[in-house]
């Protein structure tokens, strides 16, 4: 089957700015003097600390865990001494307990890190190891992978989709990963297929990354059950439901999950982490981060979890011009930070700096009813109407118009000629609706 130029209906083409970093091989960032490791880096329950102030820890040592099913363990990313258990805001704005560790610079690994081949694993064992090793989705939402890989009995998963679309402008972390760790991704896919008991896998890559497509295809030569699916470059192609639609033509029902159509979607970085955890015994304590925008030398860095963003910026030659906004993630869905001490967590794929003079503060004009926001919405909502109800605090009307189906991709706000805060106000409506549902 030739899988060429697959896509979904809607979406927008957005200038990419990926050339800033797409040719830069991943550099290892020196481990910082102090790491701030939040105990709540995933969706679900926060972890409780397993260490006390003064304890000596090694790289890969478990420092936080939770008995709840929907949660994922946390590990130390340096060797050193626990200085403090503090409270911190994570990049996503969650107030979380945080283990502060002073790095002794010895980079001592925990002894239990051992290689093990896939044949020795039973399915259930892979799943429980994923939780132990702290594996969560690394593409943004940080949903614990073992939960995603444990669908209820009646949901048979027949297709695994590896998300290598990387549709956010500026970010090239997954792109570099696919080029530099192609083998690990392929073996990671096999682990995931075994864990899910799935026969078929596709790796979806946007056609703006021909070298990554080439590399993956070469590595997959001879693999019958794993194929590369070339996707049209369009935002938000990497959205879970849209990538399923593009590759399988299956539509996840409104309010449903990918497993309702027999699919599981995992990001390439997650797959690499699964590979390392299961086959190399290495917990998730570092990740690739694209540092880009208004810094002097934009780079892709391999960063220890818990490293403050100021260290990353310094490693990239500091700010270029006066910084106005510092975003963790990409420009479309990333979150603006207010503190340079905010640490990189498992879900942070990029740090984007916008210089103050780059930030346009455009006047919000009345909607001219051009319909462009409807055309781009991947969920096929009518952003102009939902937004106008949200701005009038009429959230039940927003709910009626399916505000909850909004995936917060930001395409509507991006395209609007009247510069209306569409996605912004719809997000607020979603919060209100969810809060109200929880109460009742």
């Amino acid at each position: 089957m030739d899988l060429g130029k697959l896509t979904f209906k809607g979406g927008a083409s957005i200038p990419e700015f990926k050339e800033l970093t797409s040719k830069n091989p991943v550099e290892v960032l020196k481990s910082p003097k102090i790491v701030y490791i939040p105990l709540h880096q995933h969706s679900g329950s926060p972890c409780e600390p397993l260490v006390n102030v003064g304890d000596v820890v090694k790289i890969g040592q478990k420092i936080g865990s939770s008995n709840a099913f929907v949660s994922s363990s946390i590990h130390s990313s340096v060797s050193g001494v626990v200085k403090e258990i503090s409270t911190i805001y994570t990049p996503t704005g969650i107030k979380s307990k945080c283990v502060v560790i002073e790095n002794d610079g010895m980079d001592e690994m925990i002894e239990s890190i051992k290689e093990r081949s896939l044949e020795y694993y039973k399915r259930e064992e892979i799943i429980s190891t994923l939780k132990e090793m702290g594996i969560v989705g690394m593409g943004g939402a940080s949903f614990p992978t073992h939960v995603k890989f444990s669908p209820p009995e009646d949901k048979k998963i027949d297709i695994l989709i590896i998300n290598g679309a990387e549709c956010e402008p500026y970010i090239t972390a997954d792109h570099r990963l696919m080029l530099e760790n192609t083998k690990d991704i392929v073996s990671g896919i096999k682990v995931a297929m075994k864990a899910l008991n799935t026969e078929k896998a596709y790796i979806g890559i946007e056609d703006n990354k021909p070298d990554a497509i080439e590399a993956m295809k070469k590595e997959l030569a001879g693999e019958k059950n794993i194929e590369v699916a070339i996707l049209k470059t369009k935002y938000p192609q990497g959205d879970e439901k849209r990538i399923i639609d593009a590759i399988t033509n299956r539509k996840v029902p409104l309010g449903g999950l990918p497993m309702d159509v027999g699919c599981v979607v995992s990001n390439v970085a997650t797959i690499k982490a699964i590979n390392d955890a299961i086959l190399k015994g290495k917990p998730l304590y570092e990740r690739i981060v694209t540092v880009t925008g208004s810094v002097n030398n934009p780079k892709n860095l391999l960063v220890r979890i818990g490293t403050p963003i100021e260290d990353l910026i310094e490693a990239c030659g500091g700010f270029k011009g006066k910084p106005g906004k510092i975003i963790i993630g990409g420009p479309m869905m990333g979150i603006a930070q207010f503190d340079l001490k905010t640490p990189i967590v498992k879900g942070s794929n990029g740090v984007l700096v916008q210089a103050l003079d780059e930030i346009k503060n455009e006047e919000v004009l009345p909607c001219i009813k051009c319909g462009k926001c409807i055309d781009v919405c991947p969920s096929r909502l009518e952003p102009l109407f939902i937004s106008s109800y949200s701005l009038k605090d009429n959230y039940s009307k927003c709910d009626e118009l399916n505000a909850l189906a909004c995936v917060e991709c930001g395409a509507c706000s991006y395209i609007c000629p009247a510069k209306r805060p569409l996605a912004e106000s719809i997000k607020i409506a979603k919060r209100e609706i969810t809060a109200k549902r929880k109460k009742s």
Partner: protein
């Protein structure tokens, strides 16, 4: 309109660097702007304006100037009166002004042009909330008001040499007089409002708008196609269809009026239904009614129906099963 500011997501009480801007995503915006879109419409109207000045001379130039200046003044005045921000620089009033001029006969007196512009902007656009909220096309609404108030002035089509002439469709309807050639119909130099004179130049503007993604090509195409089909069904002779397509302001209406954002449905399915409706009504009015051209009232009636069409053509949400 009250705009709520969407600001900070976190309290920045423990902020170390409160000079950083914190706002919800997305953090980038496209170059699209209201002014840019209106500017594109004006550019698209330039060929038609040139044609009208070429064929109708100074009169046409005067009318375009008067309606445009009046529309901009009317907008600034009413926005000031309503204590709204003055936003004439979005160029939407300029578009209305030009379109109104193009919908007038060359011999229209200056005071009619001024009245039309004020009526269109104040009564039809701003009374209903201004840009994006008016349910009728201001230029067409103004034209309808002028036709109702001064029917004979609005139906006297004079050429620069002061010869009055019937429009091709009047000639067809009454069955007397000499029809222009099809080539004239296409290139220009026919009786009618100043903007409809050259189908070719209107088309060039239309193609520009489609390329610039300001309008959907389906709307004018379906509108014109439906009109032709319906005329055939109503028994109009094959040989006359081309006159109907090129004359009677159909091109002007289909390309520039039926595609107006504010007064047509916002959904893409709705736009198609809107275009079909315009086509059916235009043909009906031309054959069964008393109106040789029919475009104005067809579009105005569909303008009124458009909120309903919009409701009935809500896009199906992704994954929704009905």
């Amino acid at each position: 309109m009250v705009e709520k500011t969407i600001g900070k997501t976190k309290d920045d009480s423990n902020s170390l660097d409160n000079k950083l801007i914190v706002s919800l995503s997305p953090h980038i915006r496209s170059d699209e702007s209201v002014r840019g879109i209106m500017g594109d419409v004006i550019i698209a109207l330039i060929p038609a304006m040139i044609a009208s000045i070429y064929y109708f001379g100074f009169n046409a130039f005067k009318l375009i100037l008067i309606t445009t200046i009046s529309a901009v003044c009317a907008e600034a005045f009413i926005q000031k009166l309503f204590k709204k921000p003055i936003r004439v620089n979005d160029l939407s009033a300029v578009v209305t002004g030009i379109l109104l001029a193009l919908n007038l006969p060359a011999g229209a007196p200056w005071w009619m042009a001024v009245f039309g512009a004020f009526f269109g902007i104040i009564v039809i656009k701003e009374f209903f909330g201004g840009i994006g909220s008016n349910f009728m096309n201001p230029a067409l609404g103004a034209r309808a008001a002028l036709v109702a108030s001064w029917p004979s002035l609005m139906a006297t089509y004079t050429f620069p040499d002061a010869v009055s002439s019937a429009t091709p469709l009047q000639i067809l309807k009454e069955g007397s007089g000499s029809l222009p050639t099809i080539q004239q119909m296409f290139i220009g130099n026919i009786g009618g409002v100043i903007g409809e004179t050259s189908a070719a130049l209107l088309l060039i503007g239309g193609v520009y708008l489609v390329i610039r993604k300001v309008i959907d090509w389906k709307v004018p195409t379906i509108y014109i196609g439906t009109t032709a089909l319906m005329l055939l069904l109503l028994g109009v002779d094959n040989s006359q269809i081309i006159y109907h397509i090129l004359g009677g302001g159909l091109m002007l209406g289909a390309i520039f009026m039926a595609t107006d954002y504010s007064s047509s449905p916002v959904t893409s399915k709705g736009k198609i239904i809107f275009a079909i409706g315009c086509g059916l009504l235009t043909a009906l009015f031309r054959v069964k009614g008393n109106l040789p051209e029919g475009v104005t009232y067809a579009i105005l009636i569909m303008n009124v129906a458009s909120p309903l069409i919009e409701k009935l053509t809500k896009p199906k949400v992704f994954g929704e099963v009905k």
